[in-house]
């Protein structure tokens, strides 16, 4: 990663120097080593970093950066490049105002997984090869990278970018995919409705309606969002009310159905650790099964499954598993 970081920095400096770009959107250190936040940099690139905690998807920032003078350099991990394409498809980004570099990714780290291993009092974090070295007040600790990746990285769509003007890749690419992304969805589908209801109550009732999942989502790019309407009835968090949560979460997931690239940002940012990707993936799975496989953002200009139809589509009520009529 250190090597990749060096190459990115060098190349970015060249692009600044020859006037190709006027700013760069990347990551900087937040409150701690394991908290890297998106930031916009000038030619000095002061504070710019790229490491295992740069999970944030930068593509959404290009919506606003497309509206200002000059060209923006953006760094895209393979999964981010799908969101980038999707935003281009929806005409939310001005392609001419962006210079995209596809950068290498060997899986991003999940601080919650590190903490779950019993690591406390973290002072600083460093990466050495396939290990994460943690300096804590109780001494130094080492954990295997492959054990503490973000959930989404275990079902990574692959390490090939689908967009980019140029690429900075490692010689040896690390494959992090180990699981089928629909595994849990299938498990849930196999449960009884009552069990599913219990499961979702347990998850969704923790929601504090902070809207982080919506704000971070590259597919949630409406200028005026339905959740900003105070009359909607979802923005006050009334405990004991099942409706608000269901309403908020069904609508959030539905609004991105057919457009969600499964970048996994919603689940990453949720302060309550709600597995929001399981809602999105349910839609993705149904779409794949009923209307043919579809990956949002795979290409620019695709027609989404919900803005399309076939004369012999399945009837509502037909589920892929229950042998629905096709």
């Amino acid at each position: 990663m250190q090597e990749i970081f060096g190459r990115i920095k060098k190349r970015a400096a060249e692009l600044f120097a020859d006037g190709t770009v006027t700013r760069m959107v990347g990551w900087q250190k937040g409150e701690s080593d394991y908290d890297k936040t998106p930031a916009v940099f000038g030619p000095d690139m002061k504070g710019f970093v790229y490491d295992g905690f740069c999970g944030a998807n930068l593509s959404k920032y290009l919506i606003n950066l497309s509206k200002v003078e000059g060209r923006t350099l953006v760094l895209l991990k393979p999964c981010d490049s799908y969101s980038f394409n999707q935003l281009l498809t929806e005409h939310r980004i001005d392609r001419d105002k962006v210079y995209a570099i596809g950068i290498d990714c060997n899986g991003k780290l999940d601080i919650n997984k590190i903490r779950a291993l019993g690591v406390k009092g973290i002072r600083s974090v460093a990466e050495e090869g396939d290990e994460v070295v943690l300096d804590t007040v109780y001494g130094s600790k080492r954990v295997k990278r492959s054990e503490v990746l973000l959930d989404r990285c275990y079902c990574c769509k692959g390490k090939d970018h689908v967009a980019g003007d140029e690429f900075i890749l490692a010689e040896k690419r690390v494959d992090t995919t180990t699981t089928d992304r629909f595994e849990l969805v299938k498990k849930l589908e196999a449960m009884t409705p009552d069990e599913r209801y219990e499961f979702w109550r347990g998850e969704l009732s923790r929601c504090i309606r902070c809207n982080a999942c919506r704000n971070v989502c590259p597919a949630c790019s409406c200028v005026k969002c339905v959740f900003d309407n105070p009359a909607l009835g979802t923005d006050s968090k009334a405990n004991s009310d099942t409706f608000e949560e269901n309403m908020f979460h069904i609508i959030r997931a539905f609004h991105v159905a057919g457009r969600c690239t499964d970048c996994g940002e919603c689940s990453r940012v949720c302060p309550q650790h709600i597995p929001l990707h399981l809602l999105n993936r349910k839609f993705i799975r149904d779409i794949d099964e009923l209307y043919g496989e579809y990956q949002a953002g795979a290409e620019v200009g695709q027609r989404g499954p919900l803005t399309d139809f076939a004369k012999n589509d399945a009837e509502p009520g037909a589920t892929p598993d229950k042998g629905g009529k096709k």
Partner: protein, 153 residues
């Protein structure tokens, strides 16, 4: 408070039926003029096309106290606007699957294609649907307690 109990003390559900103006609403009309009966607790909302129905409408109906929501439109291929109901079909398929995924009873929601000539089908569908909702009982999994409160006052 809505009357959810009939004179014999049995549960009387509230059903919201979205009917498209061109086929199903006319179908319901025909059911009436043919003197076919369907339960009075089916509240019909007329929409220009089944495609007008946003998933939010369905959720909103549940929020405001519906126990079942049914959406009726022209048969696929017969849409007054040519293709509206094809989009509805995809949209509702996904929405209903999602409700089911969240553990909300699948049978509380339904889509039926009813043409203007199918008064008898309209009556049958509504009777069947109401009977099913009676079996399921009151909607508890998509209720909004705040709305219930305000209805009681």
């Amino acid at each position: 408070m809505q009357i959810k109990i009939d004179e014999n003390g049995n549960f009387k559900p509230t059903i919201v039926a979205f009917c498209c103006n061109w086929c199903s609403y006319a179908g319901a009309d025909l059911a009436g003029t043919s003197r076919l009966s369907y339960p009075a607790n089916v509240k019909i909302v007329r929409v220009p096309c089944s495609c007008r129905v946003n998933p939010l409408f369905i959720l909103r109906a549940f929020q405001r106290g519906a126990d079942g929501v049914i959406l009726c439109g022209c048969h696929p291929g017969d849409c007054h606007y040519t293709t509206g109901n094809y989009y509805t079909r995809r949209r509702m398929t996904l929405l209903f699957n999602m409700l089911d995924y969240l553990g909300i009873e699948r049978d509380r929601t339904r889509v039926e294609w009813v043409s203007a000539a199918e008064g008898a089908k309209m009556a049958r569908v509504m009777n069947e649907f109401v009977a099913r909702i009676c079996e399921l009982g009151e909607n508890k999994r998509l209720e909004d307690l705040r709305c219930k409160k305000s209805l009681e006052e």
